[in-house]
């Protein structure tokens, strides 16, 4: 299976830094398969990432890759896309990267509907720095900075993306890797800002502390807690309980930023009437 996507990896950069049982490798694999399906030219594809365990993904991939500063990946990517709208851009972020320090860039990229494909590796924790709570850590969980349990309410990342204006929002999990690939493919085909939230597991800094068992248990948890949005319609609120939805959660149409900017250029250059 790996053979099909091997060409997209910088094999000399392996082994990767991720812990055994970490979900990030599965999400990265799903992303590589998606790019394979999309058939994008490697030279015309850019992977931008922030800072975190997830963000290390960019270094393992054989595209134009940019490992930026914590939270700012989307802002760097905005500059790249605007500079050359022909490029296919994937933006890899962790949940903290994307919704805490980078929350402002996230909502504004969505509002602009700029054609970037955000893939958010959501493990509900700050993995790289050893397990501090993030904006997506649910209430009543343990983190190194929440020794008495978390009291803050968590973001629903997909809802946030949708309300901010993203024109494609999907959610998958490391367990549902095939679906994740499909979501990333569909997100990339959407001309506008696309968000795919990939539920990943961090056994080292989250699972252990919250008694979620070993990585296999954490993956099982994803399988059991996830409800396909297509099935959710037939379920009662009670049945849904604290489960989460996966699949294409939102899709609509809006003018894409770089295309609209091209109209501005045409108008300013007098190639079309003011």
């Amino acid at each position: 299976m790996f053979a099909q996507i091997e060409e997209y990896f910088r094999l000399e950069k392996m082994p990767h830094i991720w812990c055994p049982g970490c979900g990030h490798g599965i999400v990265l694999g799903a992303m590589a398969r998606a790019i394979k399906q999309l058939g994008y030219d490697q030279d015309k594809t850019v992977v931008v990432s922030g800072i975190g365990c997830s963000a290390r993904a960019s270094g393992y991939l054989d595209f134009n890759t940019l490992h930026t500063t914590h939270g700012r990946a989307l802002a760097f990517a905005t500059g790249i896309k605007l500079a050359d709208p022909e490029l296919n851009i994937f933006v890899v972020m962790g949940d903290g990267d994307c919704t805490a320090i980078g929350g402002n860039h996230f909502i504004h990229a969505a509002r602009r509907n700029i054609d970037l494909n955000a893939v958010v590796f959501n493990n509900n924790i700050y993995g790289m720095t050893g397990g501090q709570y993030s904006p997506t850590t649910p209430q009543n969980k343990r983190a190194t900075t929440a020794p008495y349990r978390t009291i803050e309410r968590n973001f629903d990342l997909a809802e946030l993306a949708k309300s901010a204006g993203a024109t494609f929002v999907g959610r998958g999990t490391a367990y549902h890797a095939k679906m994740l690939t499909d979501l990333i493919v569909n997100g990339a085909k959407n001309k506008g800002f696309s968000v795919v939230e990939a539920i990943s597991q961090c056994p080292t800094s989250y699972g252990r502390r919250n008694k979620m068992g070993d990585p296999v248990d954490m993956i099982k948890w994803q399988k059991e807690q996830a409800v396909n949005i297509k099935a959710a319609g037939n379920m009662t609120q009670e049945q849904l309980g604290d489960k989460f939805l996966i699949g294409v959660l939102h899709q609509d149409e809006a003018p894409e930023y770089t295309e609209t900017y091209q109209e501005i250029i045409d108008r300013a250059q007098g190639t079309v009437k003011k």
Binding site: K13, D43, F76, A77, G79, I80, R267, Q269
Partner: protein, 380 residues
């Protein structure tokens, strides 16, 4: 046919900066509005699309700096403009540009600080922030214009230096220079140098994005050109991939510094007026240098042999140029619109050979020629 005489045009400093950027070939601006720099953004918002360039108002200055770096990595000459509070926000990514060697120009039209301070008053309080604002040991280039015309010229120069040395360059203006209007005759395209970044001369297989080609400045491929490579703010080896080997860390930091310090003759600019026979030197930059020039004239009329040293490049600091004078000139007055920032560097260069006296104003008012004259008379 009667000859049409070119009387030039009335132009504001910020406008000259925007025009200089366009003349240098900029195709990208990203930033966030802040007094007294906003006109630069406003003018480029109008003019960039006319030349096929791109303008974007980002959600904050952090994003502005990030987008500028992204665009530059994609091959566009890129610029952002701000003032004190926004300059602080740009610092983390400014450091990224130093580390990843991404050419770009960062304009700071200084206003009174700290914090929101005095938005509409001139100041020179960010001199040290320009030098040490981002974390870690790093080289930086900062230029300070004295007039509207020079703002135009130095904006072009800032781009040239940034492209040549693959480094961010700071144009440190102040509110007076930014908002002042002067009649200027600008050089025509072709009458000034425009530098483009060095591109790889080898194929993608042989390309190492951070390999020193002997000049200290590695050739730079853009994203999308077929030279797939990795860019990171982590210390990296010549392939661009992270390394924390002590010898690699040292090697990278040494090269980053040396590519600047080995070319000081190309980077350091200063104007020297009446220093040949001077008994007292006034050291002044930016709008204060305008008053200093008048002060020199007044002093000379009164028989005092005064001269002016005006650094145009303040970082790297022009120590060597300055030291040439300290064998002879034993008195130096350093007026600054801050509580004394660059004066420390002058003292360091003087190394006890000359007596250095500061003259500071930090109330949002300009330092007048008379104040400088009085200070000179006091020290003589």
């Amino acid at each position: 046919m009667t000859e049409v005489k070119d009387f030039g045009r009335l132009m504001q400093g910020n406008e000259a900066c925007a025009e200089g950027a366009l003349a240098a070939g900029t195709k990208f601006f990203a930033g966030y509005p802040i007094t007294p720099s906003t006109e630069i953004a406003e003018i480029l918002a109008e003019k960039l699309p006319q030349v096929g360039g791109k303008f974007i108002q980002m959600e904050d200055e952090i994003g502005g700096m990030a987008a500028v770096i992204g665009a530059s990595l994609t091959g566009l000459k890129s610029i952002t403009a701000t003032s004190g509070p926004g300059f602080s926000l740009k610092q983390e990514n400014l450091g990224f540009a130093v580390m990843a060697e991404v050419p770009c120009v960062v304009v700071n039209v200084q206003r009174g600080g700290p914090s929101t301070g005095v938005p509409t008053s001139p100041a020179q309080g960010d001199v040290m922030q320009a030098r040490w604002g981002t974390h870690g040991d790093h080289p930086i280039i900062a230029l300070t214009p004295v007039s509207v015309k020079e703002t135009y010229e130095l904006t072009i120069k800032a781009f040239n230096l940034s492209e040549k040395f693959r480094t961010p360059v700071i144009l440190l203006m102040d509110e007076v220079i930014g908002h002042m209007r002067e009649r200027v005759q600008l050089p025509k395209q072709g009458e000034f140098e425009v530098v483009e970044r060095k591109k790889p001369q080898v194929g993608p297989e042989q390309y190492y994005p951070y390999r020193d080609d002997g000049t200290g400045v590695p050739p730079m491929a853009s994203f999308g050109e077929g030279y797939r490579h990795h860019v990171t703010g982590l210390v990296h080896d010549e392939t661009g991939f992270p390394s924390n080997k002590p010898e690699m860390v040292k090697k990278v930091l040494d090269r980053l510094h040396k590519k600047i310090s080995d070319h000081l003759d190309e980077i350091i600019m200063a104007e020297e007026t009446n220093l040949e026979d001077a008994e007292v030197m006034i050291f002044a930059y930016g709008s204060v240098a305008r008053s200093a020039k008048k002060a020199v004239n007044i002093l000379r009329k009164n028989g005092v042999k005064a001269g002016l040293f005006r650094p145009i490049t303040i970082w790297p600091f022009p120590s060597t140029k300055l030291q040439e004078h300290f064998n002879r000139i034993k008195k130096v007055v350093v007026p600054e619109m801050n509580m004394g920032q660059l004066v420390g560097e002058v003292e360091r260069a003087a190394a006890g050979k000359s007596i250095v006296t500061p003259l500071n104003r930090y109330d949002g008012e300009l330092i007048t020629p008379v104040e400088i004259v009085e200070k000179v008379q006091e020290v003589l």
